[in-house]
Symmetry: C2
Subunit: 80 residues, 2 copies
């Protein structure tokens, strides 16, 4: 069983890395790109014996405690 | 129109950062976690005038040329 965790900066938080990527993308000639924001993506392999509720709860706790900084980041968890 | 780009290391490529996260997660008492792998996640705001095919093509080209290193990373693009 696999949990996918997506962590991104809250919309109100500045993202200088995303701005730098946006600038590079523009220099390379891509038009029609309004904004770029960077986040993190994690794949967590979980014990296949867990129920999907247990897997969701475990992955959310790991996301909250370890992977994301809830002060400036939002996260979402998808169980596969 | 928003493109979401997920970049992750190819399965054959070692992921020391993921291993470090896995180790921390174990030290914190989480059991039933087999493996953790870290990737990157990007949100690209695209011109709403693009068709979804054009948006997909633009986002894939940006992913290939700028966001991912195709030698060691796989990427996938989802248009929202």
């Amino acid at each position: 069983m696999k949990a996918k965790v997506y962590v991104k900066l809250k919309p109100s938080v500045l993202d200088p890395q995303g701005k730098a990527i946006h600038h590079s993308v523009e220099l390379l000639g891509f038009e029609k790109v309004g904004d770029v924001r960077q986040g993190k993506y994690f794949e967590i392999a979980l014990d296949p014996g867990l129920s999907s509720e247990e897997a969701q709860a475990t992955a959310e706790k790991i996301a909250r405690d370890v992977l994301a900084n809830p002060v400036i980041e939002d996260y979402s968890v998808v169980i596969d």
